[in-house]
Amino acid sequence: MTDHPKLTRRQLLATAGGVIATGVVSDLVSRREARAAVKPITVGFIYVGPRNDYGWNQAHAVAAKKIARLEGVKIVEQENVPETVEVEKVMEGMIHQDGAKVVFATSFGYWPHILKVARKYPDVLFPHIGALWKEGDPKNTIGYRGYMEEPHYLCGVAAGHMTKTGKIGFLGSKPLFFIFNNCNGFILGARSVNPKITCQVVITGDWNNPVREAEVTNSLIDQGVDVIVANVDSAKVVVENSERRGIYTCGYHTDLSELAPRGFLTGAEWNWAAGGQFVKAWQTGGPYTNLLRGGFRQDMVAISPFGKAVPEDVRAKIFRIRQGFVDDSFKLYRGPLKDNEGNVVLKEGQVIANDDNKFKLAVNFLVEGAIGKTGLKK
């Protein structure tokens, strides 16, 4: 056994070091290759108002920050862009001057302008938040939107547990189907806790009318309402006013918990960062869908962090229901269901799927327990 190879300590270290080094280098190389595979891309965000409005625009700005963290993504942002030809100029500016390949124009009324610009720039992708896309529209445009009635249902559950007077309030902006869906979700959630709860519903008629919103909040509180949610562009006024008057509130659009440290329960939030999937698809040439609606199941909506007033067991219950939305075992609209004028909407046993757009887009009623009118002529 004289020819038995002897491994000195030095040889061993050298070999081991070599192996490790090779591993590290090859790892680095493969990582660099991986990075090179992700094409750098510039993504533009256009807001109709200021980015820090505690509402609609902030929800998009929060998403923009998340999308900016995706690999190879650089973002550019412009705020206060009106829904006129101005937005076309801004989109073209982002394309020409910043080299943007994806442009998120985040206001409803931008849509006709998006269609015009999208036809001119087929190599740029234009996701839009209205879910207005229809067959025949350019393939480089996308419509997507979340089912906000689902987080509103969870807000309603929180409200149902926390209300002492049994009266809750919903302040709406426009008499539109998605506002009614949100209102219904909120009421159904609250009444799942206690079927005696009633909800005062006030529609202001404006997306943004802080004076009227403050007045409505005060009058609701004077009537004994002790939980309010407001579906307006920015719920800041309503949330702050409610906090001052010592009642509970739920947020809308984005996380408003800092505005009401005592009375904030939770809030219904969009997860516009879901738009990141379109950026990735455009970056890699992967497939994408032109029209996307979704709730918790598709990770397109969320709830705000709970306020300290909400007890543990209520939180746990809300998380359980949210899981029900995620695995689609829980349905929001279930029979028997009546509207607040006594008409039967759903019969015993009738269930509406959470992604039944045909039903949801046609909602023009308030469910039983709502005190107020849609203001629509039927």
Binding site: G44, P50, V76, E77, E83, K89, Q97, G109, W111
Partner: protein, 345 residues
């Protein structure tokens, strides 16, 4: 205007603009930005490429016309701030005329639409002139209030009587027929409003400089008593000056309708009228200077977006620059006649 005074105006205005830019540089430093880089992006966004230049000129076009709404009456000693209202009324009248003249062929129809818009705007501000002359109503207040009335009329009409229900996203009026629309200047993305604006400024400059009417208006603006003593028809001149100013802004409204939107909606109310006041003052009510000042302010608006995008500045940053410009130019007006270099030897 002598050569000497022209040089004086140019030198003082340029100095004022430079001072404003310097102050804005200070603002940039406070925000933690490199001021030189900010200036570079300002230039890039305004004039740095053909795309930027077209943007700038498109932004400048309506300003030229609305600035005249303040500048022309100002020469007669009136402070009119009704450009916004006149623009809206001009736009509305254009839409109505467009519907009535739907069967008139293109070129004459377009001329008629422009004339209608101009007359509507002219009459609108003319009302303020008449109130001023016969009832002694302060024209600044009346034109300001007329702005609100015009916007209310617009909102009323487009949400009811003339609403086009095919436009679902926001209330808008009926559209003007395709054949009555004027698009962009061929080969560019600049609409024809720029040509109208430059032409109107040149025309009014000639009127103000080269005619006895212009001379008489200047006398009226300089000293009402002297004008009265000289036997000038003051009432008529006040009315004409207001009408001409309003007509320019009304034409801007007509252009917005037939060249940009195709209909009347809240898109007409985006502040061109108010920005025009700023332009008129910066240009010291001189119609030719208005052309250049409009391009300058158009450039600032055009580069505002790039400033936001490159530095993450808020939209208000361009307002800061505009405000600094305004204050610097107003302050600089005290220098006229005081600098020894420009004095007559």
């Amino acid at each position: 205007m002598t050569l000497r005074s022209s040089v004086e105006t140019a030198a003082i205005s340029t100095a004022a603009v430079l001072v404003a830019l310097l102050l804005f540089g200070g603002f940039a430093v406070v925000r933690g930005l490199d001021p030189l880089e900010v200036y570079r992006v300002l230039y890039l966004g305004a004039f740095g490429s053909w795309f930027a230049v077209q943007n700038t000129l498109t932004q400048a076009a309506p300003l030229m016309l609305t600035a005249l709404c303040t500048a022309v009456p100002a020469r007669a000693g009136l402070l009119v701030i009704g450009g916004e209202g006149a623009l809206v009324m001009g736009g509305l009248a254009t839409v109505l005329a467009g519907v009535l003249l739907a069967n008139v062929p293109g070129p004459p129809g377009i001329a008629l639409l422009c004339a209608t818009g101009a007359v509507a705007g002219g009459l609108w501000v003319g009302v303020a002139g008449a109130l001023r002359h016969w009832r002694g109503v302060n024209e600044t207040i009346s034109t300001l209030l007329l702005n609100y009335i015009a916007i209310a009329v617009l909102n009323h009409l487009i949400t009811g009587p003339i609403r086009d229900f095919d436009q679902v996203l926001k209330p808008a009026s009926w559209s003007v027929g395709e054949h009555l629309r004027i698009g962009d200047v061929p080969g560019t993305s600049i609409h024809w409003g720029l040509v109208f604006g430059v032409a109107a400024c040149a025309l009014l400059w000639v009127l103000m400089r080269g005619t006895t009417f212009g001379f008489a208006v200047d006398i009226l603006g300089g000293n009402v008593r002297a004008a009265r003593m000289a036997g000038l028809p003051i009432g008529a001149m006040v009315l004409v000056a207001c009408f001409l100013g309003g007509a320019a802004a009304g034409l801007a409204g007509a252009v917005e309708v037939i060249a940009v939107h195709g209909f009347a909606s809240s898109s007409l109310v985006v502040g061109y009228g108010y920005a025009g006041i700023l332009v008129a003052f910066l240009a010291r009510q001189n119609p030719l200077a208005i052309v250049f000042v409009s391009v300058l302010l158009g450039g600032i608006s055009a580069s505002g977006g790039l400033l936001q995008r490159r530095f993450g500045l808020p939209d208000a940053a361009t307002l800061v620059l505009r405000g600094l410009l305004f204050v610097a130019v107003l302050a600089s007006t005290t220098l006229y006649g005081r600098l020894r270099v420009f004095r007559r030897p």
